[in-house]
């Protein structure tokens, strides 16, 4: 089994434990062991990174150093914000030679790109299609996800790998492999409003209501994301957002991409933390899993 260092970050260690669980299980089914980074610390995606440049490098930098010490060559973060901080820290160390020479010995980093940083989406998208397809046990026909990437998985372009900054496709392609039919829509990388979530909730609710409407208009019956911040806005805040626009259509379930993948790989529904979702995913899953003859269902 291939070992990859895994940085859960605060979201997955707390509020979004279901994402953590689904990610580890799905990865294992696909032959990847996610080895948790020892004694990991905050990635700095909080106000930390914008208050002090050096701190913004040191926080994720410590993780990079630890991964090197663990003898692993790749680290992944499921959370888009954690991923972004890790990649950005590497980039700053590559460009700012002075800072690099000062901080790298202290952080235990031998060279800025000694460790490869990949988003969890990229780790799984890099597995050959046939290999994934061969392991799909439950075809999720009837699931029509709007794949929602948010801002940090595909941007800044040039820093985060091969995703197109305006029209990323990795998640769409992955969803297709499970038998789901991802919809073509145009708001994949629209802002979810996470940065203003607490300070200007009114703006964020309007943005979310629009995102959900766009997904629905495109024919989606759920939204799938990779980012805990996006998920929180789409799931936890959806009831509020619905009130703002007096939404009468049924609520739109939100999922993490690894939850969908785990279901398709045959992980029993009960083992996954769907009860933690604010928007009830039950009816949709009943419909989809019922359609696949109960295999892998309850």
């Amino acid at each position: 089994m291939k070992k990859i260092a895994y940085f859960p970050g605060c979201s997955l260690a707390g509020m979004d434990a279901e994402y953590d669980e689904a990610s580890r299980l799905a990865a294992r089914e696909l032959g990847i062991e996610l080895v948790e980074v020892e004694d990991w610390n905050c990635c700095g995606a909080t106000s930390g990174h914008s208050t002090d440049k050096e701190l913004s490098v040191m926080l994720p930098g410590r993780t990079l150093g630890t991964v090197e010490k663990m003898g692993l060559d790749t680290v992944t973060a499921a959370c888009a914000a954690c991923f972004s901080r890790l990649v950005t820290a590497q980039e700053i160390l590559k460009e700012d030679k002075e800072m690099a020479s000062r901080l790298m010995p202290e952080l235990g980093i031998s060279s800025p790109d000694a460790v490869k940083v990949l988003s969890l989406l990229r780790v799984i998208a890099d597995i050959p299609k046939d290999e994934i397809a061969g392991k799909i046990k439950v075809r999720l026909e009837g699931l029509k996800p709007a794949c929602y990437y948010g801002c940090l998985i595909a941007r800044p372009s040039g820093l985060v790998g091969e995703e197109h900054p305006e029209n990323p496709m990795a998640m769409d392609n992955l969803m297709s492999l499970t038998g789901a039919e991802p919809v073509r829509w145009y708001h994949k990388t629209e802002c979810c409003g996470a940065a203003l979530s607490l300070s200007r909730t009114d703006i964020v609710l309007a943005m979310n209501a629009k995102l959900i409407k766009m997904a629905r208009d495109a024919g989606a019956n759920c939204i799938v994301t990779t980012c805990p911040l996006c998920f929180t806005n789409l799931d936890l805040r959806q009831p509020q957002a619905r009130k703002v626009v007096n939404e009468t259509a049924p609520p739109m379930p939100a999922f993490y991409f690894s939850e969908i993948l785990a279901l398709a790989l045959g992980i029993p529904r009960k083992k996954l933390g769907f009860d933690k979702h604010t928007i009830d995913v039950g009816p949709l899953l009943d419909h989809v899993l019922g359609a696949s003859a109960g295999k892998g269902g309850e």
Binding site: S157, H164, E166, N167, R184, Y186, H187, E190, M214
Partner: protein, 656 residues
């Protein structure tokens, strides 16, 4: 021992303010071979030149060194000066004390020291100079024009008018180019075809112009005044002498494919003329799609043709022509707007390019000039124009301004308003760039009299919603987001170099810039010449240009060709590379580095009677760049005027 005179120029205060010129002259007096040295305020002035002539006579000088500005500025001046005293011009040597010393070195003492060293090097080189002379070469007084758009047509007409023959080669089945695709032209709104077609016909009728359409230049050999070009005339499958252009063939042809001339907005048949005013107005068969060629069936056109002009088994014809000058007028391509995936994923039927718009609003276009939404044929009520799509966008590798889009967008808003008095017309712009005669006034008219609503800001996203396209952008003047539900979106696609420009550049031995546009020899002072003698540029193949600029540059390039044809014969460049064939091993490293294809492999007889291969430089083609001399492993290639021995002496002098 040569008798060298050294003259140090003050260049007003340009050199004198940081270089102690008197001290440099003083130092020069002690250099080997120097018998006279002086400094003067302006060596290039008449008194300065007279000073040189007087000193030559008085001191019997046979080599002259001037320490002044860059040789590219005044070397010809001083060469002419020494020639007056019956010295070979190549006995003159220049040390650059301005651009390379005084302008870049601020410390007077260091600058003076550097100047002394530069003069010492020039003196050392002058001591080894040999007399050089030009050879005279004949000129073929016939021009080749590549590309039959407005630029190529104009250049061909100008040269033909002056009485010289012109070969005009066009890749498409008709001449006319981009201008033939346009509806109206700014800033006068006269119809593009109305002013273009008379020129097309004039070119076809002019006895001095031979037009080859559906043809491509396949090879170019030779040099200024003496090119030999190979042209492939693709098989048209039509006997041009028999065809009357009646059009029965394409009326009856059953195969329909998108018409490139209509930018995909309309269809054509497998046998077709691209547009009604085509010159020549005779069809071609597109063998890729014709049923006779793809399936071996059909043959309707041949059956219907009353003139029996359809010739299925016609073959490509390859011809060669000798010409003295070549004008490159190959035009531009449109930026591929699909690369903007944030605009409806790159493509949507109701999101069209500016050139598609020209076809849809043109009376001879696929909709007979009725502007309708491609998706459902409805009249558009809200139209959004977006400028700078593929221009001024670093992310797309297109940081430059395409220059034509601001004006054609303003024109297009006027054309829309004339058809739809009640439509809402929006234009998203970054800046409005309307530098041209009557241009700004024209654009103001679009805004003020024709009520186009201009919004300064970029569009971040376009997506379909119902039967509308939602355009999201920002108004950076009001500082707020804008959302417009549009029926039709027109993307002002930028202009870029032809996809195959690089291949043509390689064939011609001319340079391209970082965007693959062809490079002029000097951005300001030699704007239509290339670095290769006898090859000139016209129109938008050099950089995005509008019609007036294309015509002006075409006439300028014709003037350059005519200046060449006005000479009885050519003087070759004396400072060319020369191979010592007796020592050449024939490794041909020089051949691969020569950017002008001036090196050839030749067979020579050994003393023992055997045959061996050696490199030879054609002095007519060689531009004296010296790449071969540097590449020669054995050091047996000399660039005359810059021989290996001269360079070595300069290096010795520098290290002294």
């Amino acid at each position: 021992m040569p008798r060298i005179g050294v003259f140090i120029c003050h260049c007003g205060i340009n050199i004198e303010k940081t270089v102690d010129t008197a001290k440099v002259a003083e130092a020069a007096r002690s250099f080997p071979g120097v018998v006279f040295a002086a400094d003067y305020k302006y060596m290039c002035s008449d008194p300065g030149q007279n000073m040189i002539l007087d000193a030559i006579r008085e001191y019997n000088l046979d080599r002259i060194v001037v320490g002044a500005c860059s040789p590219s500025l005044h070397e010809p001046t001083f060469q002419a000066c020494v020639a007056k005293a019956d010295l070979n011009p190549y006995f003159f040597e220049m040390a650059n004390l301005r651009e390379q010393v005084s302008w870049v070195t601020h410390d007077r003492e260091m600058a003076t020291e550097k100047a002394i060293q530069a003069v010492r090097m020039a003196v050392a080189k002058a001591g080894k100079s040999e007399p050089l002379a030009s050879q005279s070469l004949p000129i073929t007084k016939k021009a080749l024009v590549i590309g039959g758009g407005i630029s190529g047509i104009q250049a061909a007409l100008d040269i033909a008018e002056a009485g010289f023959p012109v070969i005009l080669v066009e890749r498409e089945p008709s001449i006319g180019g981009r201008m033939a695709q346009l509806d109206k032209t700014f800033p006068t709104l006269d119809c593009s075809a109305c002013i273009l077609t008379p020129k097309m016909v004039e070119a076809a009728r002019n006895p001095n112009i031979t037009i080859h359409t559906y043809a491509e230049v396949e090879n170019v050999a030779g040099f200024i005044g003496n090119f030999e070009v190979t042209i492939r005339k693709k098989a048209r499958s039509i006997d041009m002498s028999k065809c009357t252009g009646c059009g029965v063939c394409y009326e009856k042809c059953p195969v329909k494919v998108p018409n490139k001339f209509e930018e995909g907005t309309g269809e054509r048949k497998a046998i077709y003329v691209p547009f009604p005013q085509a010159v020549p107005n005779k069809p071609v068969i597109d063998r890729e799609v014709c049923l006779h060629f793809t399936k071996g069936k059909c043959g309707i056109c041949a059956k219907m043709c009353p003139a029996e002009a359809v010739v299925y088994n016609q073959e490509d014809e390859v011809i060669t022509e000798k010409v003295g000058a070549i004008i490159v007028a190959t035009g531009f391509d449109l930026f591929d707007t699909k690369r903007y995936e944030e605009y409806a994923g790159g493509a949507h039927p109701d999101m069209i390019t500016s050139l598609q718009f020209e076809r849809l609003i043109n009376a001879s276009g696929p909709t007979q000039g009725k502007l309708r939404r491609p998706s459902d044929g409805k009249e558009p009520e809200t139209i959004v124009f977006i400028q700078c799509v593929g221009s001024r966008d670093d992310k797309m590798g297109r940081p430059y301004c395409s220059r034509i889009c601001c004006m054609y967008t303003a024109k297009q808003t006027i054309l829309v308003r004339e058809k739809f008095p009640n439509a809402r017309i929006f234009v998203f712009f970054m800046d409005i760039r309307t530098a041209g005669k009557n241009y700004e006034e024209f654009c103001r008219r679009a805004i003020e009299d024709y009520n186009a609503e201009y919004i300064r800001g970029r569009v971040s996203k376009i997506y379909p919603s119902g039967d509308k396209l939602i355009v999201e952008g920002s108004d950076t003047i009001l500082g707020r987001p804008v959302e417009i539900a549009a029926d039709l979106v027109v993307l002002a696609a930028g202009a870029e170099a032809r996809a195959d420009a690089k291949d043509l550049a390689r064939m011609l031995g001319i340079q391209t810039d970082q965007y693959n546009f062809f490079s002029e020899a000097h951005a300001k002072l030699r704007p239509v010449e290339t670095m290769t003698g006898g090859i000139f540029l016209a129109g938008a193949c050099q950089f995005p240009r509008d019609i007036p600029d294309c015509v002006a540059s075409a006439s300028a390039s014709a003037a350059k060709a005519l200046a060449l044809f006005g000479k009885p014969e050519l003087a070759s460049l004396p400072t060319v590379a020369k191979v010592d064939e007796s020592r050449c091993s024939g490794c041909m490293a020089c051949l691969s580095v020569c950017p002008y294809s001036a090196v050839t492999m030749e067979e020579v007889k050994n003393k023992s009677g055997g045959i061996r291969e050696v490199a030879r430089v054609n002095p007519g083609v060689c531009q004296g760049c010296g790449a071969c001399a540097a590449a020669c492993n054995a050091g047996v290639i000399d660039l005359l005027g810059y021989t290996n021995e001269q360079i070595a002496c300069q290096v010795d002098a520098a290290l002294l």
